[in-house]
Symmetry: C2
Subunit: 246 residues, 2 copies
Amino acid sequence: MAPTPIPSLDMLIRKLESIARLSDEERRAIERLPITGRHLAAHQDIVREKDRPSQCCLLLEGWVCRYQVLSEGKRQIFSFHIPGDIPDLQSLHLRVMDHSVCTMTQATVAFIPHEAMLELTATFPGIAAILWRDTLVDGAVFREWMTGMGRRTALEAVAHLFCEMYVKLEAVGLARDHGYRLPLTQADLGDALGLSNVHVNRTLREMRESGLITLHSGKLEIKHWQELAKLCDFDPTYLHLERLAA
Amino acid sequence: MAPTPIPSLDMLIRKLESIARLSDEERRAIERLPITGRHLAAHQDIVREKDRPSQCCLLLEGWVCRYQVLSEGKRQIFSFHIPGDIPDLQSLHLRVMDHSVCTMTQATVAFIPHEAMLELTATFPGIAAILWRDTLVDGAVFREWMTGMGRRTALEAVAHLFCEMYVKLEAVGLARDHGYRLPLTQADLGDALGLSNVHVNRTLREMRESGLITLHSGKLEIKHWQELAKLCDFDPTYLHLERLAA
DNA sequence: CGGAAGTTTGACACAGATCAATCTAAGTGG
DNA sequence: CCACTTAGATTGATCTGTGTCAAACTTCCG
């Protein structure tokens, strides 16, 4: 519906190449993917629980999250996604959505038909492997969040999330100098970490008062990365960013 | 080291065929996989965090779990696995282990070299898709556990786990009549659900007193499936057992 | 028959939830 | 450009689910 400039598959190619080199043939095949670009408003569902989508959604701009609403109205956020991610890649092999995906900010996305993706991955096992890998990293992040909710204090959990998002953003060139735009409300943070909005607020106050961070109008600055990382025992191994190894 | 009777790849074939039909060629390729069977004692690590395994582990008998130990000594269990599972399938595409895998009971496993798996999946995209799918279901279970820790009470969380394990066991023919062998200590349950062993104990007492379950010497019986499922809002969609749809 | 591992129970402490105001900033319409 | 509205942030008071500690009890097994 929105005016749609030509979106770009460079994003996807760059992402895949950050893991493994692509052959010319593979690159050309990706460029031939039939995509549909779209601009979305903030707080808008892209896919919903129970849906049986026929396309995947490559995020080009903005943040989206995956979430589920329990019967009593409580919400659990499972992940935050940034440009380059394909938040619903799993729908390629799991027919029914067991959760929803929605935008946190205005967003630009490119929809890719499952059919085209399936053909691509059947033809190029190398590409399939990289995408598969991507969903595995996804799983690793879920595990880390489990640890956060199960075994970390509120302070540690918030700190850990801040570190995680920084490393992910930095890896795709969207953050530097330990600062970034964090387009989340305190309630969003709470729903992601299993905390109440009130307690998130108090935790943030504590972090500010101890001088670890600065956060206003959606701008987060980590003032003492080392200390913050140490506080929450942050170890980026689970993000499996090969680049870090180099 | 242990005496090793010939392990069987039927387990794997049956599992894959529960999702999609295999061609004769695919089936033969699987049967040709060079596997090494092994018996393991209980409470023994199969792979450890930081390892770079060169093989995957197909579980034939017993239970294993995936877990991580935090620096303060707390443990978070991420999943329980039952026969037919390949708990470390992710190591096929993520070089470094970000967590450990260990046996909960005596177990029989078959190790399959990565090399052979990679060749198999590169040659047969259909098999790759089923295995990929399997890791995606894994992720779905992680999400459900996140919901449990973030938004459910202890009672609901324990109930949900009991339902989940029953459905998974029943699906592979290892449970019926809403009862099964649960080879976990209360501390194990706590580490999986983000609770203390003491509180797990109280929660179990509550469940017993309300007549919902029976649990002694490792035998769990769900006396009122409907009520238990309702109590914790259990919906097996996230397990993506196609068979249920039929 | 020990002994170790696991379970159960009680007393008490605390992290975080809940409830309810108030405050602030960013729109929005006139 | 300002009054109005509204979403979100903040704060205080209070409550509660769950953790911690410590002891006793049970079960199982060598």
